[in-house]
């Protein structure tokens, strides 16, 4: 860890101003916002991130946290703790995929610290990224190469990969926001803007160091999740080696709008297998208008992983990812929804 200055944000404008310092990549930005700190402090201790200045935005919590249940949807404040959203009865009942994705993430201690916006911005667990002894990491050192490509890739992505980076996006909650068509409200120097959640993260391409479309100084203020016919018939399935406190080997967020056995709409996002929260549009299209059964679920899963590119140890994720999605779809279809 390197020395840094620490300050508490007095207000939103001040926080934005403090962090509006141009940088080629957020990870290398000299000013970093501190929310729960559960990722940032870790990465600072192992010398991966070396900010000069931390701006603690927790003083903004009164304005930026809270859960409001509205007629047309749900609003989640950016600094709401993961545990608060996971335990909220309305979220559990009406947006089960959100509650489950949060509950299955990290540990109770971490969920009590970590904020929702910090969670969606969580950095990859790629072990080559997290160990500065590996010089080749295009995320840390743009242009240096990727040590993971020929390395141990069991934890790496098979969807959205590029020759420059195969680091997996590690989170769970983002997949839930993605399937529910959430929007992200962002405050910045030029005022406020709102983007669909799928526009938040960027594919690695040839600039894996640029992970999101947030500009320096921008702060996520809240997430809006519209209430739709599929929100209640939703779930998050997380497959991993142990029962708790592990990142997904493969996961699926699924939300269905069913009429009888017919699928009016299907929404699918995949975790543990992709470089960003991954919407499986091909699978959704394959299901729409048909019946949902073993064979249509398998066909959809096949469509979802059609673009997959495996690398060394992670070939099994193509099959596991499909099995995970099939199980999630059939489970979601058989949910009993009471009105």
């Amino acid at each position: 860890m390197r020395p840094f200055s620490y300050e508490r944000a007095a207000d939103m404008a001040g926080a934005i101003e403090a962090a509006s310092v141009a940088s080629d990549a957020h990870i290398r930005a000299p000013v970093q916002f501190l929310a729960g700190g559960t990722t940032l402090l870790d990465l600072m201790k192992i010398d991966v991130m070396r900010p000069e200045r931390l701006v603690d935005i927790n003083p903004l919590a009164p304005a930026l946290s809270g859960i409001s249940v509205r007629e047309d949807g749900l609003r989640l404040g950016a600094l709401t703790k993961m545990s608060a959203a996971a335990d909220h009865p309305d979220v559990i009942r009406n947006y089960p995929v959100l509650a489950q994705s949060l509950k299955l993430a990290a540990s109770a201690q971490l969920r009590n610290m970590a904020s929702l916006s910090g969670n969606v911005l969580q950095r990859t667990r790629c072990l080559y990224f997290r160990d500065v002894a590996w010089e080749a990491c295009n995320k840390r050192n743009p242009g240096s190469g990727c040590a993971a490509l020929e390395g141990n890739t069991r934890k790496h992505a098979i969807l959205g990969v590029s020759p420059h980076c195969i680091a997996a996006y590690p989170g769970d909650f983002a997949q839930a926001l993605l399937v529910l068509d959430a929007t992200v409200a962002i405050a910045g120097r030029d005022g406020e803007r709102t983007i669909p959640f799928h526009q938040l993260h960027r594919l690695p391409g040839d600039t894996p160091q640029a992970e999101t479309n947030l500009a320096p100084g921008e702060i996520i203020t809240h997430f809006d999740i519209p209430s739709r016919p599929w929100t209640r018939r939703s779930l998050y399935l997380k497959v991993r080696d142990r029962e708790s406190y592990e990142f997904a080997v493969a996961s699926a967020a699924v939300a269905l709008d069913m009429q009888g056995g017919h699928v009016r709409d299907a929404r699918i996002a995949l975790g543990g297998v992709a470089t960003i929260p991954w919407r499986a549009s091909g699978a959704e299209e394959a299901l729409k208008g048909g019946t949902l059964d073993e064979s249509s679920a398998k066909a959809a899963a096949q469509a979802a992983f059609e673009p997959a590119r495996a690398q060394g140890d992670n070939h099994f994720k193509i099959e596991l990812g499909q099995a995970t999605l099939v199980r999630a779809l059939l489970d979601a279809a058989s949910l009993e929804i009471r009105s």
Binding site: I46, N152, F316, R327
Partner: protein, 764 residues
């Protein structure tokens, strides 16, 4: 043999809470890493990022410029300042013969190359991150090759010959039923919660070392040799240890450099290595491979058993665990062949990790036994019964006691084994495939020389002093129960002091010998006190005058005769001395022979390993046994593997402290589940560098993974093992568990996964 009549105080075998439990849960227990030393400077290690080569150049300017940096040690200024000490596994002190910071040579990734000392931990860490090192890099060998091992073979350089009898190859060829399979276990790390820390304080020419240790006398003497000073001038303090599992048994390279840094600065220095550094500054369980061939006749009787093992070690050291010593004596078989090979790689020297030999080797054999049962269409418990033996098949020496089949029967009944449908894949619950598996657990009943001082104050309070170690095992409680039992005083009246090299020497807390060794020493000291009190009482005019002193007992705070006469302990004490009454005992194991028998205490006092193995106990062999049964559940689509329940029954002689013994076995079985399904250190083969070196990525079972764990004690009396009849059990519980998991996975799926850990991708 019958129980010695003197064990009748009602305390040995009583379930009591851990006597140091309150200290631990309130944070009052002072672990060596917690010791606050006034004016201490803080050290931070820099470790190599290459596995093989030489240091070309250090760039220290940026690090030196960090405010508060006091000193940076590298081989350039420490070369020749730390002397050699002998390798622990060769009967010495050190965890490795690799001497970091003595030359520019790099033997393994994560080798210590520099130590930064600064006013604060933060400054030391910052400066350490700013140390740059240029290397000449040579290509490194990470471990076994990609194909099955064809390594340079080294047959048992450390411990004599490989066990053999008959003609295993011929018998295998002629066997009616055969099993021929390879098995593998991965690299694993101990990951104790208390990190590898060292604090050194010089006072003139004497040195105090605060370091979590499983062997304070070994640390003291080994360090003295490295620093070329008298061992009398070193004190090692380690009253509590926050997990060790073998990783804190031998002297690691870091300690001498902390002492050196403290000397250079003339002030105390505290080193806290990081979690990632914990993967390379101490030892690890090396990966192993096994080739097991079993031959049997149609009735299930073994006719041939061969077990060849391969183990990874560092380039300079021939460390190996050689578990064939155990796998060759587990079952009756006329033809046995074993061999152990070391494969040298550019890695640190491996070392003891809970049940070092038994965990990997018994895993292989117990899977093979299950495969044989399947090939015979025989119940795996029946196969063990048919091949049960009361003698070592190699040389015919009898087991002092062996209750393996009683363990199987008790555990099978508790588990409900009779309801098992043996057909693989036949048992399901909804979308979950169910598999039931079992395996044998065993561990040699080792005993070592130990010394103890027991002091009884005039008011009847008892003080027990011995440099043993409570590494979470419950040693404080077991020792206190022993003294309370033999002196007939309430437990609260006994205090126990451990983990300080100024106390009477006690053996390494390893090889599951501690309870047997130390409690026998303490019991002898108590017996000596009782005998002196009784003799004095018998010769005096008091109420016990003329009574047979040999028949007198200490019970309920009184000295009593069989015919009911008694007097208070306090009165009896006044006859001996005006002050406290003391006994100092040097216990030599009853089974000791050779050098341990003759020179055991000299070795112990010099901090050298002096244990007598249960596999070499003179005219017999002595082992503790167990049988473990467990259930796995595997999702039919996504193949997650979970273990909702496990039952273990164990026969380990006299159980001194049932509460903490149960805890050891319970923890062992959980460890065993982890060793089958979770634990593995990932190595990047190109760089021979560990990857998952933190507790988020190095998986062990969490609470959510463990549901029902049932521990059954099978009563066993065996006074041949030692006077108190104790068989160690700290390393018994995690032996065989991984095989039970693998066997259950086969039962659930029909797929035999022989390489650990067993993961989702193995079952897709």
């Amino acid at each position: 043999m019958n129980a010695p009549s003197r064990i009748d105080g009602g305390m040995i075998g009583r379930s009591v809470p851990r006597i140091d439990g309150r200290l631990k849960v309130t944070g009052a227990a002072c672990y060596p890493s917690d010791v606050g030393v006034e004016d201490a400077a803080h050290a931070f290690l820099v470790t190599s990022t290459i596995a093989r080569g030489r240091i070309k150049q250090f760039h220290l300017e940026d690090a030196q410029a960090v405010e508060g940096v006091l000193d940076i040690l590298t081989y350039e200024n420490t070369r020749g300042k730390v002397g050699k000490a002998r390798f622990f596994a060769g009967g010495g002190y050190t965890s490795t013969t690799i001497m970091p910071m003595d030359s520019p040579k790099i033997w393994h990734d994560g080798q210590i190359v520099a130590m930064v000392v600064a006013e604060t931990f933060e400054a030391a860490r910052e400066a350490a991150h700013k140390v740059r090192v240029d290397y000449d890099v040579r290509e490194a060998v990470a471990g076994f090759g990609d194909t099955r091992p064809q390594p340079r073979q080294m047959s048992n350089p450390l411990s004599g010959s490989d066990p053999k009898t008959g003609d295993a190859e011929k018998a295998f060829r002629e066997a009616e039923v055969q099993v021929d399979a390879y098995y593998a276990t991965p690299t694993q790390h101990h990951n104790p919660i208390e990190l590898f820390t060292t604090t050194c304080v010089w006072s003139g020419d004497t040195l105090t070392v605060y370091e979590p240790s499983q062997f304070v006398h070994g640390l003291k003497n080994g360090l003295a040799q490295q620093l070329n000073m008298s061992a009398d001038k070193i004190r090692v303090v380690s009253p509590f240890v926050g997990g060790a599992f073998g990783s804190k048994a031998a002297l690691t390279p870091r300690t001498a450099f902390v002492a050196l840094a403290a000397k250079r600065l003339n002030r105390p220095v505290k080193l806290v290595s990081t979690r990632a550094q914990a993967f390379t500054v101490s030892t690890y369980r090396a990966e192993t491979e096994h080739h097991v061939k079993l031959g049997a006749d149609r009735s299930g009787r073994l006719t041939s058993l061969s077990h060849e093992g391969w183990e990874v070690s560092s380039r300079p050291d021939n460390y190996k665990v050689a578990g064939t010593e155990t796998t060759s004596l587990l079952y009756a078989c006329p033809n046995i062949y074993t061999k152990v090979n070391i494969v040298h790689a550019d890695r640190g020297t491996p070392g003891f990790m809970r049940s070092p030999a038994e965990v990997p080797y018994v895993y292989a054999l117990e899977c093979a036994m299950d495969e044989l049962a399947v090939a015979l269409t025989m119940d795996p418990v029946e196969l063990r019964r048919i091949n049960d033996t009361q003698v070592n098949p190699i040389d015919g020496k009898p087991y002092s006691s062996r209750a393996l089949m009683q363990c199987y029967d008790r555990a099978a009944e508790a588990f409900g084994w009779s309801k098992r449908n043996p057909l693989p894949g036949s048992m399901t619950d909804g979308d979950w495939l169910i598999g039931w598996g079992c395996a044998t657990a065993c561990y040699p009943s080792n005993v070592a020389p130990a010394e103890a001082r027991v002091t009884v104050a005039p008011n009847g309070t008892v003080r027990v002093q011995t440099a043993g170690h409570d590494i979470g095992t419950g040693a404080y409680t077991a020792i206190a129960l022993t003294a309370a039992d033999l002196l007939g005083v309430p437990l609260e009246q006994v205090s126990v002091e451990l983990g300080d090299s100024t106390l009477p020497p006690a053996p390494v807390a390893g090889g599951s010998n501690a309870t047997a060794s130390i409690c026998n020493a303490v019991a002898q000291a108590c017996e000596d006190i009782r005998d002196r009190l009784a003799q004095a009482a018998s010769h005096a005019d008091g109420p016990l005058g003329g009574a047979d002193h040999g028949a007198m007992r200490l019970r309920d705070g009184r000295l009593v005769t069989p015919d009911g006469r008694s007097e208070p302990l306090k009165d009896a004490l006044t006859r001996i001395d005006f002050g406290p009454m003391e006994s100092y005992v040097k216990y030599t194991p009853e089974i000791a022979s050779g050098t341990v028998k003759v020179m055991g205490h000299k070795m112990l006092e010099s901090g050298l390993p002096a244990m007598t193995s249960g596999s070499a106990a003179g005219d017999h062999i002595q082992y503790a046994f167990g049988a473990e049964f467990l259930e796995v559940r595997i999702h039919r689509r996504t193949r997650e593997i979970r273990v909702p329940r496990i039952v273990g029954a164990f026969a380990a002689g006299r159980i001194i402290s049932p509460t903490t013994a149960r805890s050891q076995l319970l923890g062992g079985m959980i460890w065993g589940i982890g060793s089958a399904l979770h634990e593995a250190t990932d190595i990047d083969r190109r760089a021979a560098r560990y990857l998952n070196d933190d507790l988020a990525e190095y998986l062990i079972p969490v609470n959510a993974d463990i549901r029902d764990v049932d521990v059954i004690f099978v009563p066993e009396e065996d006074y041949q093992v030692n006077a108190l009849g104790i068989k160690g059990l700290g390393e018994l519980g995690n032996v065989g568990t991984a095989a039970a998991v693998s066997n259950a996975v086969f039962h659930a799926t029909g797929r035999r996964i022989r390489d650990l850990p067993i993961r989702i991708e193995d079952l897709l």
